[in-house]
Symmetry: C2
Subunit: 337 residues, 2 copies
């Protein structure tokens, strides 16, 4: 029996499960230590409204420049809560491990989950671990579910875009997807492109407290990228959008890899960026708030809501032409998160 | 492109993902229809305390006598909330699908999730779907996380067992594990043993409202079975227990399959049963409450808390001897839930 690897027995619910929990998982993730393992965590209900979200992570490779599946999962769930204007409070961690996965890598992943949770100010309060035989999963899959509290009365969601709204992106696009793809394909780039995986809740908190009801929509353009996310917003709100290609912030290296791999940065996943739809008179202040922090230094207005409509998005190209933007069709980048 | 199967593109976040969501997943699971797909569900915070739990399900086979991975997941999360004395309110559903999985089977699974949720009175409010390439997962894995509200001031958990408490099991043991194993091994039994997968929250609600603080511990003996769960409680509470083998309710057919497969029913998973540790003077009333309902007709007192201690469990065997009961060691029944 190899003591460095995950065994089927670690998922049995019996002695080995308890050992893995007590020696590795709980010390890594929990603020409260191993006391009181029960079927559910007990929490004080916050006043006001709750936000509740879930995401599973199956990214390949598990470790990539700028992060790993663990901090990706924490940041993803934190951001889903933040995009509804909620303050992230508590999260769960569900692990599905393949028999033979390295305990050392598991420990690294859990440590970065805890670090990411501490940075975002969210507490990991409950969890579950399953193990499946070799070949029945790919190393590790993680589900994170999160609860946040909404401490204001604003309605921030995808159906609140208004004609005239400015569309802001909080930074460069495509970094995460390109970092994962380059790492998976083993591309020798001469330069390392890192994932932008990061928690956006502090930035959202500043925007909401300083701009209030001028913020109409917040959404993080993950799978499907900026193009697909904007299309969702346009359809949900019943508006048409105009995007200016020249205004899209894209790192030179990311643009280079995209052209090698035949990808359009508009469709590539981001994990630490958000789209903000804001009243035109507040757009400049929003950009100012974003640029105060490292996560928002490349923030830019990339377009506007042209009016009520049927969800059309028009892209004004660098050459002065125009083309229609649709949702990502098919699977451009499998297992990007 | 085969229209009956799950494709990688269904996990892209793009057009195919939206199609799968709008045509299959949301109509099957949601009470509210497809309106308003956002990053998180917004819910009215209940007063009092919250319970929050998560579980991933990887059961093999996906369909088994008495249920499938879908209702198993819903009942499992409902029961984890109920075991803390909470009223189940909302749950999330995270799907990890293997490329090539049948859409028809997915629809069946989702329909039974919805049915199970309706029976338990819990609402499915948020979800996520990922797809991994063939051979990178085994058909379907499901994570369910749940939120419940605790509407009383009782403290029900694994550390509250008291000397003298009676130990009650709410019905026959081993049904779920044996049903899954028999189905996996293709055993010809002449009779069908069905999983006991069921939601226990209504039963818990009756116990709590009628017996109040006489209820000290509630726990569902899933992975690891009654033996492992009792060991957890004994260790958490710092007490010793005595169990009487003759008093354990086990169906004849289950006992038969256990002897064929070399299993001890005490270690076999249950998915619709609970252990109740209750003041001795309320044990008879508890049995009466349980036996009023089909889920509790075989309820029985199986032992007692003999005193403060170090978590030892002694089993009084049918022959009058005694043996020590430990946690499940190794992996008796992989992928039982």
């Amino acid at each position: 029996m190899n003591n460095d690897l995950i065994l089927l027995g670690h998922g049995s619910g019996g002695r080995l499960s308890h050992q893995l929990l007590d020696e590795l998982i709980i010390p890594a993730l929990s603020c409260d230590g191993p006391a009181g393992q029960n079927d559910a965590a007990i929490l004080d209900s916050p006043s006001g409204r709750l936000a509740f979200t879930t995401d599973s992570y199956v990214v390949d490779p598990v470790f990539f420049p700028g992060g790993n599946i663990g901090d990706l999962a924490v940041n993803g769930t934190v951001n889903d809560l933040a995009m509804m204007g909620a303050k992230p409070l508590w999260m769960s961690v569900g692990l599905i491990l393949e028999e033979g996965f390295s305990k050392k890598e598991l420990a690294q992943i859990l440590a970065s989950m805890r670090r990411a949770a501490d940075i975002a100010g969210i507490r990991i309060v409950t969890g579950d671990t399953k193990v499946v035989p070799r070949g029945k999963a790919d190393r590790i899959f993680i589900n994170t579910s999160g609860i946040g509290s909404i401490e204001h009365s604003l309605e921030i969601n995808g159906s609140h875009a208004l004609p005239g709204d400015n569309i802001i992106v909080s930074g460069t696009i495509g970094d995460h997807g390109v970092a994962v793809m380059a790492s998976r394909e083993g591309l020798e780039l001469g330069t390392t492109i890192e994932s932008d995986s990061a928690a956006l809740n502090a930035l959202v908190s500043d925007l909401v407290s300083e701009l209030g009801c001028a913020i109409h929509v917040l959404r993080d353009p993950t799978r499907g990228g900026v193009a697909t996310t904007l299309k969702e917003i346009a359809l949900q709100s019943g508006v048409d959008l105009l995007i200016k290609e020249d205004s899209l912030p894209v790192k030179t290296a990311v643009r280079g890899v995209c052209s090698i791999l035949g990808l359009d940065p508009l469709y590539v996943a981001n994990e630490g960026k958000m789209l903000i739809l804001v009243s035109p008179e507040s757009a400049e202040r929003a950009i100012g708030i974003l640029r105060r922090t490292p996560l928002g230094t490349d923030a830019a207005v990339i377009g506007e809501v042209t009016g009520k409509g049927t969800g059309r998005i028009s892209l004004e190209t660098s050459s002065g032409g125009a083309r229609s933007v649709e949702m990502l069709s098919g699977e451009q980048l499998p297992r990007i998160c």
